[in-house]
């Protein structure tokens, strides 16, 4: 980052801090899954942190985010507390969703984080509706919706592109194209390389960005948010990235080849950003301090989660309806 960087040192450090926070969180989640403390499944977003961090840093607290089961990063990037998110992964009553949602269903409305979803693409029209509500109520808010390359083949994705473009809602579609839907590589799921092309067919501004460059993502997101906030949305942002070595802690994904499983490490956005910061003059000690802070914060989150109670069977019938 040269002196001409459009971002201030504080801004850069914020991006770094959030990326490290997410990385450490995910490493811990994998460990807890291995120990049997997370029942079901968990989908780390390791290697994709630059996307949620870059986008969410362009949003205000009241702006809204919806994301997928691979959504821990989006939750943290949007400002949710690692402790209540970790407690949710462990399905504890102190979790953000009282332990009912688990890893795939995180939510913190106070942070504008309106939920992650385990049905691929199902949250995309929900995000459309949230954005429409902002428009109808004339609130100057922007909604960002994260989803994968796999989701971009589901009908609801297209239906929402069409409705969003038609009604000009302040929505940013953020496609995290990590090259795989579980085991299916994108060349087996789409005829053309860029998912962004499809959005253009609806007359929408559509941008492709290197999803492993947090500054590039952030600048693209800033521009998109600016457009959307002024009624010139929706905007489509395709962020190219590389998936972590497995689909989830529970299933492997495609990589039989151990070489391929390590591919993400060669483009890992975190060391890349660290390099960039160091070479543009950030002190190594400053970064080490951030690393240390994040380790401590997440360790505390884990301790909080592990010590929290699990919901009991008596609670099962509570809250199916409001009234």
């Amino acid at each position: 980052m040269s002196a001409k960087s459009p971002l201030s040192p504080e801004e850069l450090l914020h991006l770094y801090r959030k990326m490290v926070q997410i990385r450490v969180f995910e490493e811990q989640a994998i460990e807890l899954f291995g120990k049997g403390l997370i029942t079901g499944t968990t989908h780390p977003c390791i290697g994709q942190e630059a996307i949620s961090v870059g986008v969410c840093a362009a949003l205000g607290r009241e702006d809204q985010v919806l994301a997928t089961y691979r959504g821990h990063g989006a939750a943290l990037a949007k400002g949710c507390s690692p402790a209540t998110i970790m407690a949710e992964l462990l399905t504890r009553t102190t979790g953000c969703c009282k332990g009912r949602g688990g890893s795939m269903h995180l939510c913190d409305t106070a942070q504008g984080f309106l939920g992650t979803n385990a049905i691929v693409a199902a949250h995309i029209p929900l995000a459309g509706g949230v954005a429409l509500s902002n428009k109808l109520r004339k609130k100057p808010l922007v909604t960002a919706c994260f989803f994968g390359d796999g989701a971009s083949c589901e009908g609801e994705f297209f239906e929402t592109l069409n409705m969003a473009a038609l009604w000009k809602v302040p929505l940013i579609f953020v496609c995290e194209n990590n090259g795989y839907a579980i085991s299916v590589p994108t060349n087996l799921s789409q005829a053309t390389p860029d998912i962004a092309d499809r959005a253009r067919g609806f007359g929408m501004t559509s941008v492709v960005v290197d999803g492993n460059d947090v500054v590039a993502v952030h600048l693209a997101a800033r521009a998109a948010v600016e457009e959307a906030r002024h009624g010139r949305g929706p905007i489509f942002l395709e962020c190219k990235t590389v998936r972590w070595e497995r689909h989830s802690a529970f299933s492997a994904g495609r990589y039989e080849d151990p070489e391929e499983a390590q591919k993400w490490k060669r483009v890992d956005p975190l060391p890349r950003f660290r390099e960039m910061l160091l070479s543009s003059g950030t002190a190594a000690a400053q970064l080490a301090k951030v690393d240390q802070d994040c380790q401590e914060e997440i360790a505390a989150a884990v301790a909080f989660a592990v010590q929290s109670p699990s919901p009991d069977a008596a609670s099962l019938y509570e809250g199916i309806f409001v009234e």
Partner: protein
């Protein structure tokens, strides 16, 4: 008291709540200037305009999804699905999103979404336009279900639905739209979960749903001429279901027939029957009978008349159960 058709009663309920609730928004197709496929929205577009009575593209799944998005943003939304058969194209949004979000997100969001959908079981429109699929939705926890049989109940239940915070599936048989009943001009609402006894009797209870209620009343009238006193009970809502009310009638008469247009197998009749067996077995003077739609894809044309129950085969069932 004045009489209104069920169509007009529903229209009035919507109109009044549109006036009371400035953020209540209607989504769907053909609901604008056209007034709804079966005319229930007549005049609403003129009064409330295209923002609030919002015609959109033909994509039921995302339409319901947008409705959920509005609802979780604190607005209230009514979505129309033009035929109940088309719930199939929005099934995930209805049963995995609308019905469950409040619960699994730990109560952080509410989903005041009302989905209106007409049953067209008695018009000969064929296999994909004739289905009564209420049992599917009763199977899934989290959705309230109203299924009124007359103008008075329709308006009162619609009012309750439009004032509550839970997702509601509102099912209307089009054959009932033209039927009239007394409807007060004063505001009223009808709680969910209370069956209504439409005719009192001592020999057999007929629980009838939706479009079969007029048939049940006609059969009861004929039966009376043969000296059989039939009690006709309309549950009005399926979730919650008034088990106690139905059981009370059954304890009085000792015999129960359940009638609906839906397919027989795994229909609502089986559920009501089983609940009665669980709570009132000792009162059963005869096996509980069901008179239902046949387990066949409904052919196009006039043959639908042989698929759904009518007063004649209901009368036969009444005569056979009392003997």
């Amino acid at each position: 008291m004045r009489t209104l058709s069920m169509r007009d009663a529903l229209n009035e309920a919507l109109r009044e709540e549109m006036r009371n609730q400035p953020e209540l928004t209607l989504l769907g197709q053909d609901i604008g200037a056209y007034g709804g496929t079966f005319g229930v929205y007549k005049g609403l577009f003129d009064e409330f305009g295209p923002e609030r009575v919002r015609d959109g593209p033909l994509c039921e799944s995302a339409t319901v999804g947008f409705g959920i998005g509005l609802a979780i943003s604190g607005m209230r939304c009514v979505v129309e699905l033009e035929f109940m058969d088309f719930t199939t194209v929005a099934m995930d949004q209805i049963v995995n999103q609308a019905a469950k979000l409040h619960y699994f997100l730990g109560g952080q969001v509410t989903v005041p979404l009302l989905i209106r959908t007409p049953i067209v079981s008695r018009m000969g429109m064929g296999p994909q336009h004739s289905q009564s699929l209420e049992s599917w939705f009763m199977h899934v926890p989290g959705l309230k279900i109203a299924i009124p049989s007359n103008a008075y109940d329709a308006k009162g239940l619609m009012k309750t639905a439009l004032r509550g915070l839970d997702p509601v599936l509102f099912i209307e048989n089009v054959k009932l739209y033209g039927t009239s009943a007394e409807v007060p001009t004063e505001d009223y609402s009808i709680p969910f979960g209370k069956a209504r006894t439409l005719r009192e009797g001592t020999d057999v209870t007929v629980v009838a749903l939706s479009g079969t209620v007029p048939e049940a009343l006609a059969a009861a009238e004929s039966a009376a001429q043969a000296g059989i006193q039939v009690e006709v009970v309309d549950p009005r809502t399926l979730n919650p279901l008034d088990d106690a009310g139905i059981a009370a009638s059954l304890r009085k008469t000792g015999r129960l027939i359940i009638v609906h247009d839906a397919y027989r197998t795994c229909g609502v009749a089986a559920e009501i029957s089983q609940r009665m067996m669980e709570t009132a077995f000792d009162y059963l003077n005869a096996p509980i009978m069901r008179v239902t739609g046949l387990d066949v894809p409904v052919p196009s044309g006039a043959l639908y008349q042989n698929v759904v129950p009518n007063r004649e085969n209901l009368l036969q069932a009444i005569q056979s159960i009392v003997n």
